[in-house]
Symmetry: C2
Subunit: 335 residues, 2 copies
DNA sequence: CTCAGGCGTTAAAACGTTTCAACATCGAGG
DNA sequence: CCTCGATGTTGAAACGTTTTAACGCCTGAG
C-alpha cells in the first residue's frame, strides 16, 4: 500500500501551496491555466486520489444518497431504483444500494451506518410498518412504497388497498367465489393493505368475508409461492379456492410453477393474479395478470422529494399513485 | 438541521473527556461500568450520531466494501451480490451496491468515488474487457465474472468459452445445423467468450463456421431479446436458423416472448438456449434450457479473495468455475 | 508617479474523530 | 510507610481536506 499521497505532497511537488491544489480540484476556473496544468501534472504523476472523508469532514457535504431496499432480488425494487438513480444523477449525486433482505437487524445496521456516513439523504422501503423507529437523526429520509402515518417525513406510495380491490374485483367478476390470498409476513404493510383491499372487494360484491382464504407466507420470494401452491392443492377440493391473488409477482410465479408441476392448469383449475407487473410477469409460463405500479416514477418522485428536503421552506409531502390492473391469460374467464 | 452534536458535547454533558467517550464507542470494556452508563445516557439524550468521516479520517479504516454491477436489474447479478454480502457480513463489513448499467462513464464515476471514499475494497463486473483501465489506486479490487488477463489483481470467473460450447453442442446434438447466437455488445467480454465457445462447438462437430449466425444486440436486456426475435423472423426462411443461443437469460426470455407473439412455437419452430439459469428461466412460458453458473459462490469467493488482499503474504489468484447445462423444454429434441 | 482594484496565491484555522503517552487513584505487598 | 501494579481517565496531537481573509503583484487610470 502506498504511503498515501495527500494534497500537500501534490502541492510541494508542483511548487504551490495546498490551497491552490484544493482550488484546482474544486474551482478550476479560479486558478491560472499554467498553474493548473502544473498541479494536474503533479496529481497524475503522484497518483493522488482525493480523500473523501477529509473533504466531507471539512466541507460538510456528501455526494451520495442511499436506497435501502427490501429485496434486491425483486425486479420491482431494481426498477424503482432505476428511477431513483436517474433523478439522483441529474442532481449530481451517486446512489448506493443497500439490501435489507427483509431483515430487521440488517435494516437497522444499514441505517445506522448511513447516518454515520452523513449521506445526503436516505430512501427506504422499510421492513416494518412501524416507521416510528426511524427517529430523526438529522439526515433526510423518505419512505418509498409506504405511506408515512405521522406527518414527520415525506413518503411516496401506491394505493395498495385499491390495488388489492382491483385484483379481487376482477376475479369476482370472472365468476370466482372461493378465492385465496397468498402473501406475508403480515408485518409488511403492503401485504396488509392489499389484503384489506381484497376484503373490500368482497364486501362490494356482497360476498361473505370467508370467501377469502388467507395463506400466510414467510416471505415474498418465488420459493414461498411454490410452497403456498402445495398447501393450496392440499386443501380438500370442496373447499379449495378457484382463484388466487398473490401479494407480489414472485409469489405468483412460484405458484404457477407449483401448479404446472402438480398437473393443474392455470387459469382453468386456478386463476392467478399477481402484483407489481414486473417484466417477467408477461413472459411467464402463463402470462400473468398483475397489478401494475408506476415503478420508475415511484423512485424518481421519491428522490425528488428527498432532494427538496433541505430547501428552506420544505414541508413534508405524501404522494400517492394509483395502481392499474393488467389482465393476461392467467385469469382468463372460464367458459 | 441540528447544530450537529459531536463527541465533545457528549463528553461535556457526561462530565468526562472526549477520549473517554471515544473509548465507550470503540472499547467499551476498558471504561468503568458507571462511567459507561453515564456516557451512553448522554449519547441517547443528545441524540449523538458518530461522524464516520472523522472516524475514518483518523482511524484509516472503513467498514464498507462495494460491488459495482453491470446491471442491477439482472437477477444474475443480484444473486452474485447475495453471495458477496453473506461473506462480507461474516467479516463485519457492509456492502454498497452500485449500478454501472453497462455504461462506461457511470462505471468510471463510481470507481472514482469509491476510491475517494477509501472503501475497504471494490468488487466489479466491468463494462469493458480492457481491465487495464483500473489503474492501481491503493484500494483492493477484484474482478467478478471476468478473468484478469494480467496478473495484477484477483479475479473470479466462470469458463464462458466452455459454457458457449456446452450450449451449442447441445443444440447440434439435437439436430440443428443452422444456429443463431444472440448477444452484445461485443465489447463485453462474456459475450465474446460465449461466442468463441459456440464456434468451438461447431468446429468439434465438423460444421462450417457459417452455420452460426451472429445477431449482435445493443445490450443484454429483455427488450433487446424481443428485437432480436423480430430480426430473426425477418430472415428468409431458407436461411433462418432453427435454434438460438442467447448470451443471457434476459435475451432468451425476450426472444421467447417475441416468438409467441409472432405465432411461432418454441422449441418446434425455434429451439432456445439461455445463459445464467436465473430463477425466472424455469418459470418461463416455455421453461428455458440454460447454462447455469454458481452465482452465490461466485460472489462469496470474490468477497473472500477481496478480504484476503491485505494479508501480508497475499498473491493474486484467479479462480475459475465450471458452468453446467440445464436442459428444459425450450430445446426439447424434435421428433 | 501614485493608487485603486483585480487577480492569483497562500497561511492558518477549522472539521470531529482516534490514539497514545502520561497521569491520578487506590489497594496490596513488602 | 513506601512502592508497585492495576485500573480509569485525560490532554493533545494527529488525520487530509476546505475555506477565509489577507497578501503581493500587476495594470491602467488619474
Amino acid at each position: 500500500m502506498k504511503p498515501s499521497v495527500g494534497i500537500r505532497d501534490v502541492a510541494q511537488h508542483a511548487g504551490v501551496s495546498n490551497a491552490t491544489v484544493s482550488n484546482v480540484l474544486n474551482r478550476p476556473d479560479v486558478v491560472a491555466p499554467a498553474t493548473r496544468q502544473r498541479v494536474l501534472a503533479a496529481i497524475a504523476e503522484l497518483g493522488f486520489v482525493r480523500n473523501e472523508s477529509a473533504r466531507q469532514l471539512r466541507a460538510g457535504r456528501s455526494r451520495v444518497i442511499a436506497y435501502v431496499v427490501l429485496d434486491a432480488a425483486n425486479p420491482f425494487f431494481t426498477d424503482v431504483a432505476r428511477g431513483v438513480e436517474d433523478a439522483a444523477r441529474e442532481a449530481g449525486l451517486a446512489l448506493f444500494l443497500c439490501n435489507s433482505a427483509s431483515d430487521d437487524g440488517r435494516e437497522r445496521e444499514y441505517l445506522e451506518l448511513l447516518h454515520e456516513q452523513r449521506v445526503e439523504g436516505i430512501l427506504i422501503t422499510p421492513v416494518d410498518g412501524d416507521s416510528a423507529r426511524f427517529t430523526e437523526r438529522g439526515t433526510p429520509l423518505v419512505l418509498v412504497d409506504r405511506a408515512s402515518t405521522d406527518g414527520t417525513r415525506c413518503s411516496v406510495a401506491v394505493d395498495d388497498v385499491l390495488g388489492g380491490e382491483l385484483a379481487v374485483t376482477h376475479l369476482i367478476e370472472a365468476g370466482h367465489t372461493r378465492i385465496a390470498m397468498i402473501g406475508g409476513p403480515l408485518s409488511i404493510q403492503q401485504v396488509r393493505d392489499r389484503h384489506s383491499g381484497a376484503l373490500r372487494a368482497l364486501a362490494n360484491a356482497g360476498l361473505p368475508a370467508d370467501a377469502l382464504t388467507f395463506l400466510e407466507t414467510k416471505g415474498l420470494q418465488v420459493a414461498e409461492g411454490r410452497g403456498a401452491g402445495e398447501r393450496l392443492v392440499g386443501l380438500p377440493s370442496s373447499r379449495r379456492p378457484t382463484a388466487a391473488f398473490c401479494a407480489n409477482d414472485l409469489l405468483a410465479l412460484g405458484l404457477l410453477q407449483s401448479m404446472t408441476q402438480q398437473g393443474l392448469r392455470v387459469p382453468d383449475d386456478l386463476a392467478v393474479v399477481g402484483y407489481d407487473d414486473i417484466e417477467f410477469a408477461a413472459a411467464a409460463a402463463v402470462p400473468l395478470t398483475s397489478v401494475r405500479q408506476p415503478r420508475e416514477q415511484l423512485g424518481r418522485t421519491a428522490a425528488q422529494l428527498l432532494l427538496s428536503e433541505n430547501e428552506p421552506d420544505h414541508e413534508h409531502r405524501h404522494v400517492k399513485f394509483q395502481p392499474e390492473l393488467v389482465v393476461r391469460a392467467s385469469s382468463a374467464v372460464k367458459r
